[in-house]
């Protein structure tokens, strides 16, 4: 606590020293708390303390081009299922920053990403318990809108500490279209390089592993009147996987068209040995220094998220020893405008997605070319009257329960109806009805959710997800929230299923539990 007070005093002094015209302070606070309850039906027996609490306080001070800030995190203890290294208190972020139109220089902690993040990404995701901020220094320079360059050095954070791994990187982006002076066309070429230095154990050294690894990426972006093409090639350099030398590499292509109420995107991606961690000494889900997400639809309805896709990035620490994956997805969005035949008086929105991924036909794969995941979904959204809005969704998901180890896949068909009715301008109800049918796994599921909203402050909800095909288990949840301005308080009670929590295409495994939860989020 003494250390904390010194830090606050330091920030306060820095603020008053720089504050010629006062500047402003902003911040946020978030607390998520659980009380666990023994539940024999769910086979859940809580630890002795029966309690978990994750807390975050963030403060930022801005004055003209100058800013400084910090973030503190406290886990007393961490919520169930969070990475085990999250415990007690730490100042996770602390920085000073100068940014004008052309220059930016940061000392302390910072977040950054090169391209799509396949080579390097530093970010925070509280749902995953991930905060791999870099402690070091960063410099960025823009020459008009033609060239931008950045260079960084530092140590990534893992859990409550900064690791002894070091990263050094540089990123250059050149806008050819702005240099030539083309108006309608965007054309840029980009490149990045990243050096990682990690102290290795004797085994790894004897197997020829080097503490230094160098990766690079090359990218191209093109846009002409809504037609776009993006390409990225990443080479992670040589890396040691199960004491063998492998070369990590990835290719990513995105192309499509956005315009006139139509949005179409086709994505293709191939990954080979792309797992990249801060340290080889940790198995934590937060031990990441790059971003290799699942490129598929991220669903939000209960039954559509029972088996989210977890990509095979190519790593020995995955569920199997697998060299990687290859696949793609197609997304199409269309808005039938008001006044058209299908659009009717209030328009109609439709969306379809198809995604499919396979194991690589490469040395190191258990069985090459096996289907890992396939999903076809279609949803339509229609505002029938001023009061009534309807969303219908169909999804056919096929996934490989052995992560590509065997050919066997499980198929499920899911339908969802989401019905919103506004009884008055401030009183509304929303009903979700869901059904999942499958011949495999735990057979059929059904689920329902009812939400009653009293704007501007209150919302209450209750839901139940019921496996009537096999286990006869109910996963129920009731809750209430109160919001005023930028403060939200929520409380709930429920039985939760084990599985994966996924955020931004990255997943972590969570156990089943039963209990009460409280949360507060506020900012100022």
């Amino acid at each position: 606590m003494k250390r904390l007070l010194i830090i606050v005093a330091f920030v306060a002094t820095a603020v008053s020293a720089v504050a010629q015209d006062k500047g402003y302070l902003t911040g946020s606070f978030e607390s998520n708390d659980h009380i666990y309850v023994q539940d024999e039906k769910n086979r859940f027996i809580p630890d002795d303390d029966r309690f978990g609490t994750n807390n975050y306080l963030k403060l930022d001070y801005y004055n003209g081009n100058f800013s400084a800030g910090m973030q503190m995190e406290g886990y007393y203890p961490a919520l169930i299922g969070y990475p085990h290294e999250l415990k007690k208190f730490a100042v996770s972020n602390m920085y000073v920053n100068w940014k004008d139109e052309d220059f930016q220089i940061t000392a302390g902690t910072f977040y950054d990403q090169f391209g799509s993040g396949l080579l390097f990404r530093s970010w925070e995701d509280r749902l995953l318990g991930l905060n791999n901020t870099i402690m070091g220094a960063r410099f960025a320079y823009n020459w008009d809108d033609k060239v931008s360059f950045k260079a960084l050095w530092g140590m990534p954070r893992l859990g409550m500490e900064f690791s002894d791994t070091q990263v050094r990187g540089a990123d250059l982006s050149v806008s050819l279209s702005n240099i030539i002076g083309l108006d309608d066309v965007v054309l840029s070429v980009e490149g990045s390089v990243l050096n990682k230095f990690e102290k290795l154990g004797i085994d790894a050294q004897e197997a020829g592993g080097s503490p230094n690894s160098v990766g690079y990426s090359g990218r191209v972006n093109f846009d002409w009147n809504g037609l776009f093409v993006k390409g990225e090639y990443v080479d992670l350099g040589k890396k040691l996987v199960a004491l063998q030398q492998k070369r990590g590499n990835a290719q990513l292509v995105e192309l499509g068209y956005n315009g006139r109420g139509l949005g179409v995107t086709l994505t293709g991606r191939r990954l080979e040995w792309m797992g990249q961690t801060i340290t080889s000494r940790s198995q934590s889900a937060a031990n990441l220094i790059s971003y290799v997400p699942a490129m598929s639809t991220q669903y939000t309805y209960m039954l559509t998220t029972l088996h989210p896709y977890n990509p095979q990035v190519g790593d020995e620490s995955s569920y199997t020893f697998n060299s990687g994956e290859m696949g793609g997805q197609l997304d199409a969005f269309y808005n039938f405008r008001r006044g058209t035949k299908l659009g009717g008086k209030r328009g109609m929105k439709v969306h379809a997605n198809f995604s499919t991924y396979y194991t690589l036909a490469q040395e190191g794969s258990y069985t090459p070319g096996n289907l890992l995941f396939r999903d076809f979904s279609f949803d339509v959204e229609k505002q029938w009257t001023k009061e009534f809005k309807m969303v219908l969704l169909y999804s056919m998901q096929e996934y490989n329960p052995t992560y590509g180890n065997f050919k066997t896949t499980w198929l499920s068909n899911i339908v969802v109806a989401d019905l919103l009715y506004k009884w008055t301008p401030t009183f509304s109800t929303r009903l979700e009805l869901q059904y999942l049918t499958t011949k495999e796994d735990k057979k059929d599921w059904m689920a329902a959710l009812l939400e009653v909203n009293f704007a501007p402050h209150w919302s209450i909800w209750g839901s139940d997800m019921y496996n009537h095909g096999s286990t006869k288990m109910h996963y129920y949840n009731i809750g209430v929230s109160y919001t005023k301005g930028r403060t939200r308080l929520a409380a709930g009670y429920g039985r939760y299923k084990d599985g994966f929590i996924c955020s931004g295409g990255v997943c972590r495994q969570i156990p089943q539990y039963t209990g009460a939860n409280f949360s507060i989020t506020t900012s100022f």
Binding site: V8, V15, A19, K22, G23, Y24, L25, T26, G27, S28, Y56, K58, L59, Y61, Y62, N65, S67, D100, E101, Y111, Q113, S116, G117, R121, E124, R126, S148, S188, D223, G226, F228, K230, E254, G256, N258, G259, L262, G263, Y291, P293, Q298, Y299, A332, F333, K349, H351, Q383, L420, T426, S428, N453, A455, P456, S459, T483, R486, R488, G505, S523, F524
Partner: protein, 161 residues
């Protein structure tokens, strides 16, 4: 702990209202845009942070979209929709926004590593701000249930006066 809270309270009371910080984000074409350029026109604006996997965010932006023609009859302002989707969903977010017709009426920005979101101290989406013509935050609200947009309209009317 008491001293700590006191120091924070002192800090907050000693400084002025929050503004739009200078952060680099992307536009629909993938070009870098500094958030300070949003203030160039000097008109009030609604800044809404959203993501493709956030249903309430989409409902809020749709509600604003439907009410916009009537609101603009009364007040001059603009709407800035900031997608906080990671690079995984970035291309999808652009297609999604186009497929809802937002591109015609909203200024679309894409904050793929959540730099702008962090700088505005947004912890969860949806989170909406009303910014006056001088760049000061005059109202903000987190989460959305149908009807919250009425409060938002009151805030933007007040700030245009």
């Amino acid at each position: 702990m008491r001293n700590f809270l006191l120091s924070i309270a002192l800090l907050i009371s000693a400084v002025a209202a929050a503004q739009v910080p200078s952060v680099t984000v992307e536009n629909s074409k993938g070009e870098a845009v500094n958030t300070k350029t949003l203030l160039a026109e000097g008109t009030p604006m609604i800044v809404s942070f959203w993501s493709t996997s956030c249903k309430p965010c989409i409902r809020e932006l749709d509600a604003i979209y439907d009410a916009l023609p009537d609101w603009l009859d009364e007040v001059k302002f603009r709407v800035v929709a900031v997608s906080t989707d990671d690079s995984r969903l970035l291309a999808k977010a652009k297609s999604f926004a186009e497929g809802r017709g937002w591109g015609e009426d909203y200024t679309l920005l894409f904050d793929k590593n959540q730099d702008f979101m962090r700088a505005m101290n947004v912890s969860v989406v949806p989170h909406v701000f009303v910014i006056d013509g001088k760049g000061k935050v005059v109202y903000s609200h987190t989460s959305y249930v149908p009807g919250n947009e009425l409060e938002l309209f009151e805030a933007i009317k007040k700030c245009a006066k």
